[in-house]
């Protein structure tokens, strides 16, 4: 078990290094941090002093190591746009994004999995066809348009729910949460649906196709031939076997929810990391972009690890060795 986790962590290191290299490349070669930090007028001495202070006169690999060292300590320098430490900005914005992503994931899973199971089992019923049509529309509707439509209907026309912001938040230490106030919950509804809908349709289609695949398998046929009850075959034998591939994809999808929140946060002016990122892209604020990239990569690596551990729990072929 321990060896398994360790090997997975070791496998993740090259990925993180590759992403770090890209982030470092952005940081070092794109744009001119000196010019950005010193403004228009500066003396040669000032410039040299800053170059030395930032270590820009040292070999590239030293700079890269220093960059990694800093990144590990959470130091990504100053934002060009806001002139504040990037780490502070991210810590400030992270709770908003994480709470939104959590709610969106719950929506996507709690609705998507049952819909997928249903459409897999009763593929010819009219409700399945309706679900499938709905999922196709879900895949073809861009996230921002879903957000706009929801705002139009529920905020502008009906006036039921807020169209922007997080509502009232409560500060728990450094974490600001919207879960403790009614307005916080209300503010979460539309963004969560917007963000979760795409993943919901993906999860539904995935679960459905896996169900269809497994229902065709020999062991399900054999379970039928043994006269087991439909409920046991569908949920015990079939659904459980679909879990392995479903966990992988769903895991990755949940990771991309955090990345996709860029769009949703823009539509709903949600004060999270995505909004921070998009503002950095449009103002070419490289330190924030580099830090965000590394953060997302770390999230993906972490999710991959959790996915592998879940595999371990679900599939006995990984747990127990071969033996005769």
């Amino acid at each position: 078990m321990f060896a398994f986790i360790l090997s997975r962590i070791l496998q993740a290191i090259p990925v993180m290094l590759a992403v770090a290299l890209i982030a470092f490349g952005l940081f070092t070669f794109v744009g001119d941090p000196i010019a950005t930090m010193l403004g228009q007028e500066f003396s040669v001495q000032q410039r040299d002093a800053l170059v030395a202070a930032l270590g820009l006169d040292q070999p590239v690999w030293v700079q890269f190591l220093r960059f990694i060292g800093n990144a590990l300590r959470g130091e990504f320098g100053l934002s060009y746009r806001l002139s504040r430490p990037v780490a502070d900005l991210i810590v400030e914005r992270a709770p908003a994004t994480l709470e939104l992503a959590l709610c969106a994931s719950v929506v996507a899973l709690a609705v998507g999995v049952p819909m997928g199971v249903y459409t897999g089992l009763y593929r010819r019923s009219w409700l399945s066809r309706a679900f499938l049509t709905f999922s196709l529309i879900g895949v073809s509707l861009p996230t921002f348009l879903i957000g706009i439509l929801l705002i139009l209907v529920f905020s502008v026309w009906l006036g039921w729910l807020p169209s922007f912001g997080r509502g009232d938040t409560v500060q728990l230490g450094w974490w600001s949460t919207g879960f403790l106030t009614a307005s916080g919950w209300k503010a979460l509804v539309l963004p969560s649906i917007t963000l979760g809908l795409f993943q919901l349709t993906l999860i539904m289609r995935l679960v459905r196709s896996e169900m269809l695949e497994v229902l065709r398998s020999d062991y399900v046929k054999f379970a039928r031939a043994r006269g087991l009850r439909d409920r046991s075959i569908n949920f015990g034998h079939a659904l459980r076997n679909t879990l392995v591939p479903v966990i992988t994809i769903v895991g990755l999808q949940l990771g991309s929810i955090i990345a996709f929140s860029i769009v949703t946060e823009t539509v709903f002016q949600w004060p999270g990391m995505g909004l921070l990122f998009i503002q950095s892209v449009s103002s070419a604020d490289i330190p924030v972009m580099a830090a965000y990239l590394l953060l997302i990569a770390a999230v993906f690596v972490l999710i991959n690890l959790i996915v592998d551990l879940l595999y371990y729990a679900v599939d006995p072929r990984l747990r127990t060795g071969r033996g005769h």
Binding site: D218, F222, R224, A225, D230, H237, T320, G323, H324
Partner: protein
């Protein structure tokens, strides 16, 4: 003795884009209690399809379009899903070809056994577990009491097929449909598994429909044999008669192509041509284009099963009422 299973004029059809295909065309046979009926034929002859129709698990869009299947006089081809489920496993067991894929990889073999028994028999969990261990012992799994909690991937192919046999028999069905039970196994293990199946079914008095293309297995195990060709029964009769003195030209050709064990031969006879596809079954006797004894009537009129020596064969050579134009047999 009254038949346990009666299949009468069974027709299975597949609707396709280019019209309806007849995969089984008026197939009829009986299986007596405790009897082993071997079903042989080339791939695509309809052997497995017949087995699937009996256990009510035809792959859609295939469907029974005519005829009947009765178990102890009760029709089972037109039952509801619910009623048919109660017959599968409980009264008719099934054994599939590939033991590597027929066991659910995520459940222990013990759980698969106890689930099957508890579905069909009125026993509690402890009793089910006790019996499961008993079944594993009966099918020859060493250290059954420990192995019961092992997963399928921890068994070899032969051992898995023994588990499959235990699963098929554990609710004590009256008959078992065994579809190519040894084809996927190593040759060295095939004989053991067949012997096990034969011994257990004989002890319990279970009838077996043994589908295979291995004539050796049939000769050793079956009481009677049905030879299938292009979705029809070509010949049916006691195993010795069919193997030693087949009446239908197709079964005769099939038997002649088995290498004898007693002496070496230079050339094995073979049947020229190939079985027709379902889309192009000739009129009259389906075998007529390949038959060495073909005459005009064969190309026009389809033969019924007729008494022929010690068996029954679907061949006009044995029509005692009509003059044979060419009788070579």
């Amino acid at each position: 003795m009254a038949a346990l299973l009666e299949v009468r004029d069974l027709v299975v059809e597949f609707p396709t884009r280019r019209g309806t295909l007849r995969a089984l065309d008026e197939v009829s046979f009986d299986i007596a209690p405790g009897e082993v009926l071997g079903v042989v034929g080339e791939s695509g002859a309809g052997k497995s399809m017949t087995g699937a129709a009996i256990i009510g698990l035809l792959e859609p869009p295939g469907r029974i379009a005519g005829g009947s299947i009765s178990l102890r006089g009760q029709r089972i081809d037109n039952l509801s899903r619910r009623e048919m489920r109660r017959i599968r496993g409980k009264r008719i067991g099934a054994i599939f070809q590939d033991p590597l894929t027929t066991l659910n990889p995520l459940y222990t073999v013990g759980r698969q056994l106890t689930e099957t028994m508890q579905t069909h028999l009125d026993i509690d969990a402890a009793e089910a577990r006790r019996r499961a261990i008993g079944w594993l012992e009966m099918v020859g799994i060493p250290a059954a009491a420990e192995r019961i909690d092992a997963y399928p991937h921890q068994f070899s192919g032969g051992m898995r097929q023994r588990v499959v046999i235990a699963l098929a028999l554990c609710a004590e069905p009256e008959m078992v449909v065994a579809d190519e039970p040894t084809t996927a196994l190593d040759v060295s293990i095939q004989a053991q598994v067949i012997a096990l199946l034969k011994r257990l079914t004989r002890e319990k008095g279970t009838s077996v429909m043994l589908i295979t293309h291995d004539m050796g297995v049939i000769a050793e195990t079956a009481d009677r044999v049905a030879v299938m060709y292009a979705g029809r029964v070509a010949e049916i009769g006691p195993v010795r008669s069919v193997v030693k003195a087949a009446s239908h030209p197709y079964s005769a050709g099939l038997m002649a192509s088995i290498p004898p064990l007693s002496h070496r031969v230079e050339h094995l006879p073979q049947i020229d041509g190939a079985m027709p596809r379902l889309t192009a079954i000739p009129t009259g006797c389906a075998y007529n284009p390949r038959c060495p004894h073909v005459f005009d009537r064969c190309k026009v009129e389809r033969p019924e099963l007729l008494p022929a020596n010690e068996t029954r064969a679907a061949c006009w050579l044995f029509d005692s009422h009509a003059p044979r134009e060419r009788a070579h047999v």
